[in-house]
Symmetry: C2
Subunit: 152 residues, 2 copies
C-alpha cells in the first residue's frame, strides 16, 4: 500500500463484538453476568446469548455448532461462523480495582491461573471460563499505559 492509499483508509473505531463458542449457553451466561457484571443485551435465543460489556461492546456467546448455517433474516443474512478450542479475550480494568478483582475471583471459586506484572507497567490476571477459554483482566494497554475505563 502506498502512503496516499494508507492516508485514505477509513478508520476502524474499535472492537464492538467479540465472540466465544461455548458448550452450555446458560452456564456461560451466568458466569459472565455474575462474575464480570455483564448485562443481557438481547433475550437469549437457541444459538446465542448477547451480553453488554460496555455501552458500545458486546460479548457474543455462540452455542458450539449452532451457527454453522447462515441465519436468514427478513432484512439480510448473517454469515455462518463456528469455533472450537480454548480462545482468548482480555478486558481492561482500572488499576485500583485489581485487588477487588482478585478477591472477587477467589470468592467465586475461580482459580487465578496466572498473574503477570508486566515490565512495561500494569498487571494481568488470567483465569478460565466454563469452557476453558483464557480470560484476562489487564490494568494497562499493550504499551503499558494504565487503563482507565474509557469504555465505561
Amino acid at each position: 500500500m502506498t502512503q496516499s492509499e494508507r492516508a485514505s483508509t477509513p478508520r476502524i473505531g474499535g472492537v464492538i463484538e467479540t465472540a466465544l463458542y461455548v458448550d452450555d449457553l446458560a452456564r456461560s451466561q451466568a458466569f459472565y453476568q455474575d462474575l464480570l457484571g455483564f448485562t443481557v443485551a438481547m433475550a437469549p435465543i437457541d444459538r446465542m446469548v448477547v451480553l453488554n460489556i460496555t455501552d458500545d461492546q458486546v460479548l457474543l456467546l455462540f452455542k458450539k455448532g449452532a451457527s454453522r448455517e447462515a441465519t436468514v433474516l427478513p432484512f439480510g443474512t448473517i454469515p455462518p461462523t463456528d469455533g472450537a478450542g480454548r480462545l482468548h479475550v482480555a478486558f481492561g480494568v482500572t488499576p485500583s480495582d485489581i485487588d477487588a478483582w482478585e478477591r472477587r475471583l477467589s470468592d467465586a471459586g475461580v482459580d487465578v491461573e496466572s498473574r503477570i506484572d508486566w515490565p512495561e507497567g500494569g498487571c494481568s490476571l488470567y483465569f478460565r471460563d466454563p469452557d476453558g477459554h483464557a480470560i484476562e483482566l489487564k490494568t494497562s494497554n499493550w504499551s503499558g499505559r494504565p487503563f482507565l475505563n474509557p469504555g465505561s
Copy 2:
C-alpha cells in the same frame, strides 16, 4: 448474586485484546494492516503477531497450534490457548465511512458476503479474512445507536 453484591462488582472497562487463530501469520498480518489499517504493536514472534486496532485495543493473531503450551517469561507465565474454526469479530466504523469501506473492500478484491441494514439502525458489512473468519464492520452499537469512533 444479591443486589449488594452486584453493586460491589468492580467494572470491566472494555475489550482490550481479541484473538484470532490463523494458518499463516504473515498473510493475516498483511490483510489486517493493508485492508483495515491496523499497525504493528510489537515485533512479530514465531507464535503471534500483535496489531493495534485503537490506542487501547489490539488484535492478537496466533499461529494455530503454536500456543498450546504455557509461555514462561521471566516475570510470569502466559496460559496456553488455541483455537479452530471460523470465528467472528466485529469492528465499529463511522456511518459516513460505510461507502468508503465498501469501495475499499471491493478495490482489495475482498467479497462482501453480506450487507445487513438493521431495523434498529445502522448497517453491517461481512467479509472473510484469509482463514475464513467472519469479520464485520458495523456502523452502530448493539442497540442501534450510531457508532462514532469513541476508541479512535
